[in-house]
Symmetry: C2
Subunit: 248 residues, 2 copies
């Protein structure tokens, strides 16, 4: 009991602070990587855009909170969402000391179009044309891009950003956007197909090119594996991108 009192004492002395969850939401429009931002309007700087953020509530875990906030702001459920990094410089939020735990999400731009039209607060921005951002949110995004590159080199994570059916040229464009480079299409398709996680469909994409490109989708088995244990997918996308990672 002696110790119990001592312990509570020690807890009480500590300063508490606000905990925010901020999510970097990536999308892909077929050409460029994009990031979803909101104008919160309740901030000091009326003109700055901000990441999707909110505060941690007493009864929820970090993952739950990040997910709740993404759902509240986009209406999209079950998105790929992964913790990224925590930021906590004492002066990062000038109003009150806040620790921000960041997550990054990958979503399909088109799946989100309808939702977005309902509440106009959110807007997509090209990663190269970001507006001025709240606090240190710009740094968050840079960190998230690095993480996305790392992740994509090992796990076929990019598919989250595409519609259910997609063509190889689309997939290649996505990887080229992620790594800001170009790949040889013969090597790219050989590499991707060797992973044995895609199935080729009968249909072709029409309307974009004259010839039309075959559509693919992720095999059901591969999706399941990925849901159960993401690490179990044996992806060797890395070989294709190793040098890019190093020089970047």
């Amino acid at each position: 009991m002696e110790n119990h009192g001592q312990m509570l004492e020690q807890y009480k002395q500590q300063t508490k602070c606000l905990v925010a969850l901020d999510s970097i939401i990536f999308g892909f429009d077929g050409e460029k990587l994009q990031c979803l931002l909101v104008k919160r309007g309740i901030q000091t700087d009326q003109e700055s855009w901000s990441l999707m953020g909110g505060w941690l509530r007493p009864d929820e875990s970090l993952d739950q909170a990040a997910n709740r906030i993404v759902v509240e702001l986009t209406g999209l459920n079950h998105v790929f969402l992964e913790q990224l990094y925590s930021f906590g410089n004492p002066m990062r939020d000038p109003i009150e000391r806040t620790v921000s735990i960041t997550y990054y999400a990958l979503i399909n731009v088109h799946a989100y179009e309808e939702e977005r039209n309902k509440n106009f607060i959110a807007k997509w921005f090209d990663l190269n044309e970001l507006p001025p951002l709240l606090f240190d949110h710009h740094q968050f995004i840079q960190t998230a891009i690095q993480a996305l590159r790392q992740k994509a080199a090992f796990y076929p994570v990019g598919f989250e950003l595409l519609p259910e059916k997609f063509t190889l040229p689309q997939l290649q464009a996505l990887y080229e956007a992620i790594y800001m480079t170009t790949f040889d299409k013969r090597n790219f398709s050989r590499k991707i197909l060797s992973l044995d996680i895609l199935e080729k469909l009968e249909e072709k994409q029409r309307g974009f090119s004259k010839k039309g490109a075959y559509l693919y989708r992720v095999k059901e088995e591969a999706k399941k594996e990925s849901a159960n244990d993401f690490h179990s997918i044996v992806s060797n996308v890395d070989g294709l991108f190793r040098q890019k990672l190093i020089t970047s």
Copy 2:
């Protein structure tokens, strides 16, 4: 001004919580990977060991706080320390809602021996023989091991765990401990030496084996590069360990 009031209002409504920094400190005794734990004695469960932890203070950043705590508890300054993950289940600390931001550190067991003898609160444990741990600290350690494996596959990070001069067999033993496997010594030495970051010394290690093994140390250039920009070291240790990473 309207908005300013609204904003402050919104900040005030939020619940605050304690922020703890917990560090997983790895060491290597020449044979097995180890982890430094303390018996804090001020906890509910008197018998459980705990990671090196402390609370965030109002005036410091997360990195500063983690570093301060490691210095306070070990006396070692300038150790390799990197943020790992943040944990925040509502019930993880039964006494009060606490978000724990974890860091992992790599230190040289021998450099720490003297310090350790001064304050007996800390003790090394083999990773395979961990005692019961406070709260969810066991999970923290498992996450840290995964991160260490990932990191070590790309960056020659393991050297932090060895004394300044070390032999190739020692280095190999370290990597084998990290990955819980064995490597062919011919392939291992070829691979490591091809990185061109080690210099071979005249001296040999005496006393352990009859023949004695040549000592090596990390080249000065490589250390500098690593200090300035860790990512710039072109390490291809990955090739050697890729399949281990995937199957683990």
